[in-house]
């Protein structure tokens, strides 16, 4: 083993040594029209066909031998630039790409350079183009990044209308959702129906389903890395839209042209405003008081970002997100009222620095806050329950590109977590039920990583990475208490792990390759849920001496092939994933049992397994574009204390999942789109027996997730009308029409059982024998037409 490591090290060292004279071309690539940095632009030398692609900040670096080279910058949808360069010294070349007029009448759905899916070592990764997401029909016209992601193979939603993500058998807490590098703990508005991301403010969406590169960690299943727009640094621009559910507005422009820009984007729903006339304090005609005045629901979010180019080597970015959902219920007759606000706030301050043409650094200071409150009041009684999580995060990432055969990434990541797992304060009359101190738990999570993307020869490319992660849970001891009292932390709460990540690519020809990957991941924070759907009441809890870190290892392999100059992309992937230390509440435990204290004793732990096959066929260019995705998978859970210790299907185990997404450019003014999805029904738990206690009937659930609901399928269609598209005008607008579930399929949302009275208006009872057991299926979202007006000027 040690011999192998020595040989590998020797090989790597040798591969760095270059005997000929080389120089480096580096710089940033941006879009000409708005100055936005472009991510994933392919930059390569035409002669040697060696190259690189721009990183998250639009930076590239390519080191070549002295002499003449033709450097090609290509990005689908933008005009390819070829620059002839006589390389005699290191060069800094910043490039602006312009829209490709030859394909202006077509649609492109790939957000990458040519053949990137075949060329890269990474597999199980997808980039989504925001423009394309916006053209997909959506519920009530609300453009949703997460729902678009659900149309990809290997990713499923939680059920009808849900914006939840379940990736390759993982739970909703196993996804690392990053917005400008800040972790977003609850990515959904409206109890999971809509995502928190306003598509108008988003530049890039990168989804990693497996083979996670070493720079990412802390979650088992996936990464959803979302980059916000930097803001137009050429001119002021306003974009907006008015829909049935919400309206939104984005304002962006230069602070100092080509130097600094800003973007601010907001969105708010108005169901509460529209329903206000029906919830007046009193009926205007009869004068009778309205008992439900003051009830309502709304959500809003605000996204903002400023960037400043200090010099050619230094740039800073400050971005923030703030979103809240607020649910109110009032019953004025009884003096009863509830208010439930919850939401995320994130702030990221980032500094890009170029040490030299080969070494790029980004360092970030990030703050994340997620909080949930539940306030209830009646007459002399008040109760406030609150939970949340705060992260103070610092990370530094380096990109070192010594030559075209290596792309080395290394860095560190430290997060100080403050968990407020479930606290309550109350008042009854003059008595306060307030704990002396709010119960909080404090943890430190750290990671160091290094990875290298190595070109071994024309066929072989590999990415090897190591991530060293650590987690220290100090319970309720915060650092200040620690320093003051010199308390020694319990070493049992320290975890340290090495997470290897390996990806291999073997290129069969210019347009096809086979790949394989292996990754191990540890997850130190966990979401504890009693719900069949993800609710904001779910608690984030840290690993401790009882709650062990979750662990997964995933093997994947795939075949990738492109046809007709990237017009068609195809892939077939197989994966197998094992998960350990998954978490569930014990039988009979409720979250409030651990109010103002640790929840650790409330949980039971088990393992999971998922395997499957994913097929993706994509048409990238032309008047008609789109993709077909198919997933065949099986996901199983193994818990000693659940389901009598026998294996059971995971909540969102789906044998078959098919999605078909099409967009078609009908005329200059009209774009059409459609989505069809088919999925095996969700597995649910139903009671199989009943019994009597105190004369009343109770049910017993015997087989966890043992019943399969009817298959889910629906067809959505959409059309976008853009009048006078060819004439460039100062004010432009478009109309988006969409119909969700056009054939009005009654998809099962949930099934419930009940005992119905045999005689109308009389309470039946088991004693009198006048009850009938019945089962009902409830469907939501029948056919739902919607219209949205979008504008920009």
């Amino acid at each position: 083993m040690s011999k192998n490591i020595f040989l590998l090290s020797l090989f790597l060292i040798c591969s760095f040594i270059s005997f000929s004279q080389t120089y480096t071309i580096s710089g940033y690539v941006q879009e000409e029209s708005n100055g936005e940095n472009l991510i994933g632009v392919s930059v390569f030398d035409k002669k040697t066909n060696k190259g690189s692609s721009t990183n998250q900040y639009g930076f590239y670096s390519i080191t070549l031998e002295k002499g003449k080279h033709n450097i090609v910058y290509s990005f689908i949808g933008l005009k390819t630039i070829e620059k002839e360069i006589n390389l005699e010294k290191d060069l800094r070349i910043n490039i602006s790409l312009i829209e490709n007029s030859t394909v202006i009448n077509e649609i492109q759905i790939t957000e990458e350079g040519l053949d990137q899916n075949v060329e890269k070592t990474s597999m199980s990764q997808v980039k989504l183009k925001i423009k394309n997401i916006k053209s997909i029909p959506a519920i009530l016209g609300e453009v949703d990044i997460l729902k678009a992601a659900q149309l990809l193979p290997g990713i499923s939603g939680g059920g009808e209308g849900s914006a939840g993500l379940y990736v390759r058998g993982g739970g909703p807490d196993q996804n690392l959702v990053l917005l400008d590098e800040a972790v977003v703990y609850n990515a959904a508005h409206l109890f999971g129906f809509f995502s928190v991301f306003n598509a108008d403010a988003i530049k890039d969406v990168n989804i990693i389903k497996g083979g996670m590169p070493a720079q990412y960690g802390g979650r088992l299943s996936s990464v959803l890395d979302i980059s916000m727009k930097d803001g137009n640094n050429k001119k002021y621009q306003v974009d907006g839209g008015i829909g049935l559910l919400s309206s939104r507005m984005t304002f962006q422009g230069p602070i100092k042209k080509n130097k600094s820009s800003f973007i601010i984007s907001g969105r708010r729903t108005y169901v509460d405003v529209l329903s206000k006339p029906f919830l007046n304090k009193e009926n205007k005609e009869t004068g009778e008081p309205n008992p439900f005045a003051g009830s309502g629901y709304y959500f809003y979010d605000l996204t903002t970002k400023i960037n400043y180019r200090i010099s050619d080597k230094d740039r800073i970015y400050l971005s923030g997100y703030f979103g809240r959902d607020v649910f109110n219920f009032s019953d004025n007759e009884s003096g009863f009222g509830i208010e439930i606000p919850w939401g995320n706030a994130t702030t990221s301050l980032r500094w890009n620095h170029l040490f030299n043409d080969k070494l790029f650094m980004n360092t970030s200071a990030i703050f994340t806050d997620y909080r949930f409150e539940f306030n209830i009041a009646q007459t002399d009684f008040e109760l406030k329950i609150f939970s949340g999580i705060n992260d103070w995060n610092h990370k530094t990432d380096f990109l070192y590109i010594p030559n075209t055969n290596h792309e080395i990434k290394f860095g560190s990541n430290f997060t100080y977590h403050i968990f407020t797992p479930g606290n309550a304060t109350g008042q009854a009359g003059e008595v306060d039920f307030s704990p002396d101190e709010i119960f909080k738990q404090y943890s430190n999570e750290g990671a160091l990583y290094i990875s290298d993307d190595i070109i071994l020869n024309d066929q072989f490319k590999m990415n090897i990475g190591l991530r060293y992660s650590s987690f220290q849970h100090s319970g309720d001891i915060n650092p200040i208490t620690f320093l003051k009292n010199e308390i020694r932390l319990d070493t049992n709460n320290n975890y340290r792990h090495i997470e290897p990540r390996i990806a291999l690519r073997y290129r069969l020809d210019l347009n096809s390759s086979i790949k394989a990957s292996y990754s191990e991941n540890y997850q130190y924070v966990h979401l504890a849920s009693t719900g069949a759907v993800s609710l904001p009441t779910d608690l984030w809890v840290p690993s401790s001496d009882i709650v062990k870190p979750k662990y997964s290892k995933q093997y994947a392999t795939g075949y990738f092939k492109n046809f007709k100059d990237n017009m068609y992309e195809t892939s077939l992937e197989l994966y197998y994933k094992e998960m350990e230390n998954l978490i569930e509440y014990k039988e009979g435990i409720l979250p409030e049992d651990n109010t103002n204290t640790s929840s650790d004793e409330s949980f039971t732990f088990g393992n999971g397994e998922s395997y499957g096959m994913e097929i993706l066929l994509k048409k990238n260019q032309g008047k008609t574009t789109g993709w077909i995705g198919y997933t065949l998978s099986k996901t199983t859970r193994y818990f000693d204390e659940v389901n009598d210790g026998t294996p059971y299907p995971a909540k969102y185990d789906r044998r078959h999942d098919i999605s078909l997404t099409l967009t078609h450019k009908l005329t200059d003014a009209w774009d059409l789109s459609s989505v069809f999805v088919y999925a095996t029904g969700n597995s649910i738990t139903l009671p199989s027996e009943r019994y009597v206690i105190d004369g009343n009937i109770y049910t017993e659930f015997t087989s966890r997730n043992g019943y399969r609901m009817m298959p889910y399928h629906r067809l959505d269609i959409g059309a976008t009308y853009t009048p006078n598209k060819k004439k460039k005008k100062r004010f432009e607008s478009s109309w988006n029409f969409s119909v969700y579930n056009i054939y009005n399929r009654k998809n099962p949302y949930f099934i419930y059982l009940g005992l119905e009275d045999n005689i109308e208006d009389q309470n039946g009872s088991i004693q009198d024998g006048n009850l009938t057991p019945k089962a009902y299926q409830v469907s939501i979202f029948p056919i739902l037409p919607s219209i949205t007006w979008n504008f920009n000027f």
Binding site: F327, I340, G531, A532, S688, E689, Y691, D694, F701
Partner: protein, 344 residues
């Protein structure tokens, strides 16, 4: 709190569709259901029933078919333990107490104040269908109420006929004092439906109904005022509609549909108990089921039984009883000493 989210989902369901479906569920295996109780000064008792398939028909015979009688089981034994050592034991036999058929022990020679005591553990054991059924419970130390009184309700204005039972209680300054409250109306005079001899009819409750059960995590060590509402017919906090036909003599000026009220001259027995953790989990589940029903959005959860080999609960109660006549501004200063008929 999740139930409030259901309000939201209910709104969603207004635009939704519900249809009756037929399910093919696996057949249920037969299980014994235990409802057993032991409290200081009284013999333990056990009611045994059996489970049924969820979709088994319900008719006039169903309820009677549920009960398990003496010929189906071995002798039921109850062992008294001091920590882990068995220090006493008794056997239960099939008896009728009033209208209630139970397994208990009515041997007058046994001093029940010596056998059933606070601070001791009690094991239950019997054989049914060739399966050994066992359970264990503890009678916790009881905790008296500081005071208890009758107060005209604030919540229902302009109605002089409705009262609350309020109390002040002090929770001991240690976590784990799980409370359980039951009550029954020993007297409840119905005026609108006179008995055959023309006098008002006493439509009292047949048994102690469960009002609430829970841990003391929020109120630990606190002294505070609380209210003991009348339980609905299914037990738990009232959630049903007010039966206007039943109380029509009183409702002429009564516009509200609230079922938590007590009527004047009712006579109410309050049982305020401490139970152990396993029993609390079970009875809290019963309350949750009664008040919120099955929430389709929550992970299905069975009642948390402490019966090995069966369902139900074997519960030790550290209890205090209070007899409360519903007369305005009455304050009860002494505890009530129950008879064996009062503990059911």
């Amino acid at each position: 709190m999740n139930k409030y989210f259901i309000y939201f989902f209910t709104i969603s369901i207004l635009i939704s569709c519900r249809k009756e479906i037929t399910l093919n569920l696996a057949n249920a295996s037969e299980k014994v259901v235990v409802q057993g109780s032991i409290e200081p000064g009284f013999p333990p008792y056990v009611i045994l029933t059996r489970n049924q398939g969820y979709f088994d028909p319900i008719d006039s015979n169903t309820y009677n078919d549920l009960f398990i009688y003496e010929d189906e089981i071995s002798k039921i034994k109850v062992f008294k333990l001091d920590k882990t050592e068995i220090i006493d034991s008794i056997e239960l036999s099939y008896e009728m107490i009033g209208d209630i058929a139970v397994f208990t022990n009515l041997n007058l020679t046994i001093d029940w104040t010596t056998f059933s005591q606070e601070g001791f553990r009690y094991n239950l054991e019997f054989n049914w269908n060739e399966t050994l059924i066992t359970s264990t419970t503890t009678i916790p130390f009881s905790n008296p109420l500081d005071s208890i009184w009758v107060e005209e309700t604030d919540n229902i204005q302009d109605n002089k006929y409705n009262y609350d039972i309020n109390a002040i209680l002090t929770d001991p300054d240690s976590i784990g004092n799980n409370f359980l409250i039951r009550s029954k109306r020993l007297e409840h005079w119905i005026i609108d439906t006179l008995a055959s001899n023309g006098t008002p009819r006493n439509e009292n409750d047949n048994s102690l109904l469960l009002v609430d059960c829970g841990p003391d995590v929020l109120v630990n060590g606190e002294s505070f005022e609380t209210r003991f509402p009348r339980p609905s017919g299914q037990g738990g906090f009232p959630n049903g509609s007010y039966k206007s036909s039943r109380y029509k003599t009183f409702i002429d000026t009564y516009p509200y549909n609230i079922d938590s009220i007590l009527l004047p001259e009712d006579l109410v027995l309050i049982k305020f108990s401490q139970v152990d953790l396993a029993a609390m989990k079970f009875w809290r589940g019963v309350v949750r089921n009664s008040t919120a029903g099955n929430n389709p959005f929550s992970e299905p959860m069975n009642l948390s039984s402490n019966i090995k080999g069966g369902l139900g609960s074997w519960t030790g109660y550290g209890s205090r009883y209070y007899l409360v006549p519903i007369i305005k501004d009455t304050t009860i200063t002494t505890e009530y000493v129950p008879t064996i008929f009062d503990i059911f």
